[in-house]
Symmetry: C2
């Protein structure tokens, strides 16, 4: 996870940085506007020098570029799930829908587990779990090793959940938010990377708790 | 967990029901106003007949009568934690404070783990974990077997977290809510029992996920 370090990033530099990677910028360093556009297009993350800790496991932070999303909800979240599945597919993401498909009651631990496992097994880059308040699905998903699930009611929380906690599963409450609010939360969550080593380092402690059971 | 069933509860009946237990009331059944007062004073929970499932493990639902509370927060939640510790002690609860005590940065997985373990080992009936948004502490606490942690921003969510999800750890975000709002959330959470067998049954599925790791 050692990152290349730059004092200056020109358009030529930007074109030579591998897409999807993270690079460091020295204090007082500069990125030209054109290079900035290129870096964004190549999904390159620029962080302050010293942010990347090569001692941390490379798979600790969540996938920065989310392409495959797993979704699941209990009966109370079916309508919201359908809206989100459509929306994410239209954005070109690969979406796997783990049900449920009707309003016949099902148990939130079952649907949350299906999504959490897909994320833990790296069949999906991220997961979205839905029930009435999202709290139960978040609890159940967090029981799966490698999953960090956060129940978010606002875009601010969604950004925080990624930046600080590297949440790879988002839990939503279908009775708390409408489809428009949910879409905004999901968009923020999907587009926020986890960058700072001081936050990533804390995920190692969560992993240790998982290992102790 | 088999519950006594009543068609009618008089004051005399009420005085003979063991404090802190749950009893069932038949459809169309009646509780006299005086008996109602006595039942509340004895912390007896009255649920509709058929709500209590004797097949479920007795330790699945959270402790209904919370007397011992464990609290912990990272540096961002120290002030809020102090307010809550004072408040809960004044209410006569036994409070164990797992720190941190200063604004020197600490890692939320450490403080959340200390509280979660106290709850899992039944040294506390319930736990409260605090950090900036509460999301990270909820994730870390949920990694501990037997703990169900919910991040709540409103009293409604706190009530839901207990009634539906049997949350035995409450996670709070010190940057999201002020002390007055936190106190209201905590009060609701502490005073809401988990009653319905259909919700308790789902906790068995969460336990199975924990067992599978």
């Amino acid at each position: 996870m050692a990152a290349r370090r730059f004092a200056f990033i020109s358009e030529t530099d930007a074109r030579q940085i591998e897409p999807g990677t993270t690079v460091e910028l020295e204090p007082g360093g500069h990125v030209t506007p054109l290079a900035g556009d290129t870096l964004r297009a190549r999904r390159v993350t620029v962080v302050p020098a010293g942010s990347v800790d090569p001692a941390l496991p490379a798979d600790l932070a969540p996938v920065a570029e989310i392409r495959r999303v797993a979704l699941g909800s209990d009966h109370s979240g079916v309508k919201l799930k359908c809206v989100l599945v459509d929306r994410l597919r239209k954005r070109g993401l690969a979406v796997e829908d783990f049900g449920t498909a009707t309003e016949e009651p099902v148990d939130y631990p079952d649907t949350a587990l299906a999504v959490a496992r897909a994320v833990a097994r790296k069949q999906a880059d991220a997961g979205i779990v839905i029930d009435g308040a999202g709290l139960g699905s978040a609890i159940a998903a967090n029981k799966v090793r490698g999953v960090r699930a956060a129940m978010c009611t606002t875009p601010t929380l969604a950004r925080y959940a990624r930046e600080h906690n590297g949440a790879n599963v988002l839990a939503l409450g279908a009775t708390l938010i409408d489809a428009a609010a949910a879409a905004e939360i999901v968009d923020t969550w999907l587009s926020t990377p986890m960058r700072e080593a001081r936050y990533i380092r804390r995920l190692l402690k969560i992993r240790r708790i998982e290992e102790q059971g």
